[in-house]
C-alpha cells in the first residue's frame, strides 16, 4: 500500500520505538558477545537464546509477527535445544580454557579482519543509499483489505507468496529437510558390529 510507505517515510519514530530498539539491541549485543566469550558451551547456548529473543523483538517491531513466532519456536525451541542436547549428550558441558591462544597472533588478526569488513560494509552503506531496489516486487507486506472476512496482514500475505511465487523453493525445502533427517540418521547410526578385532578395540576406547 502506498499509504503505509508514505507513513513510514514521513513519521518520526516515537520514544517507545526508540526504547524498544535500544533494549533489544542491548540484549542482542550482550547475547552475541556472550556466545563468543563464554567458556562453558551451555552458557554460550543460553546467550544464543538471549540473542534470538532480541532478534524476535526486532522482527515484531518491523511488522514480521509470524517470523518472530517462528524464530522463537524453531530457533529457541528446536535448534538451541538440539545444541544443548548434544552438549549434554557428549558431556562437554565444562569450562574450557580460552585464555591460551593455540595459534599466536590469530585473535588480533581475526578481530582486525572482521572490523575491516564491518567498516567496509558501513562505509559502503554510508556513501550509497541503503535501499536501491524496486518497491513491492513480490507483494506488499500488508495485504489488500478486500472484505471483512478476507485474510489480510503479514502472515496471510507471506503464506500466499510462499505457496505461489516461492512454491518450487518451498517444495525444495521439504526435500532438503528429508535429506537432512536421513543424513542425521545415517550419521548417528552405529555401524553394524562386524567381528573384526580392530572394531572391538576401538569400541573399548570409547568413553562411557
Amino acid at each position: 500500500m502506498a499509504h503505509s510507505v508514505l507513513l513510514l517515510a514521513s513519521t518520526r519514530p516515537t520514544w517507545p520505538d526508540i526504547l524498544v530498539f535500544a533494549a533489544a539491541a542491548a540484549v542482542i549485543l550482550v547475547g552475541s558477545l556472550g556466545v563468543v566469550t563464554s567458556r562453558n558451551p551451555v552458557h554460550a547456548a543460553l546467550s544464543l537464546v538471549m540473542t534470538l529473543f532480541g532478534v524476535a523483538v526486532l522482527f515484531i517491531e518491523q511488522e514480521a509477527d509470524f517470523l518472530a513466532a517462528v524464530q522463537i519456536i524453531v530457533y529457541a525451541g528446536a535448534i538451541v535445544v538440539l545444541f544443548l542436547f548434544v552438549i549434554m549428550f557428549l558431556g562437554v558441558d565444562r569450562d574450557e580454557d580460552i585464555i591460551i591462544e593455540p595459534l599466536s597472533g590469530q585473535r588480533p588478526l581475526a578481530v582486525v579482519l572482521s572490523v575491516i569488513t564491518l567498516a567496509g560494509v558501513l562505509a559502503m552503506a554510508a556513501t550509497a543509499h541503503w535501499v536501491t531496489g524496486a518497491h513491492q516486487v513480490v507483494g506488499p507486506i500488508q495485504g489488500h483489505v478486500a472484505g471483512p472476512h478476507s485474510p489480510s496482514g503479514e502472515p496471510a500475505q507471506l503464506g500466499k507468496q510462499l505457496f505461489t511465487t516461492y512454491l518450487f523453493a518451498f517444495e525444495a525445502t521439504a526435500a532438503l529437510l528429508v535429506i537432512a533427517v536421513v543424513g542425521a540418521v545415517v550419521l548417528a547410526r552405529r555401524p553394524p558390529t562386524v567381528h573384526v578385532p580392530s572394531e572391538d578395540s576401538e569400541e573399548s576406547e570409547m568413553p562411557a
Binding site: 510507505v5 522482527f59 530457533y75 545444541f83 548434544v86 564491518l118 510462499l162 516461492y166
Partner: protein
Amino acid sequence: MSLSGAWYLGLAAIVFTIGAIGLLVRRNVLIMFMCIELMLNAANLTFVTFARMLNDIGGQALVFFVLVVAAAEVVVGLGIVVTNFRRRATTVADDLDSLKG
C-alpha cells in the same frame, strides 16, 4: 512507526561481525556452530529490514527459507560432531588433524 532501517542494518552488521570473530577465534566446534547461527540471524534481520523498507514480502519469505536451511544444517552438523566424538572424544577443531601431512 519504528526507527529508520539504517539502525537495524547497522546492528545486523555488528552482530554479523561478532559472529565472524567468534567463528575465527573459537576452537570448540559447537560454539563455532553457534557463531554461524549468529551470522545467519544477522542476515535474517537484514532481510526483514529490507522487506519493511521496500514494503516487499519477498524478504520475509527468504527469512523463512534461511530458517529451514539453518535447521537442516544444524541437524547434519551436530550429527557429524556426535559421530566424530565417538571416534576421537573431542569437540575441539584443532584436534582433528588426521589429514595433516
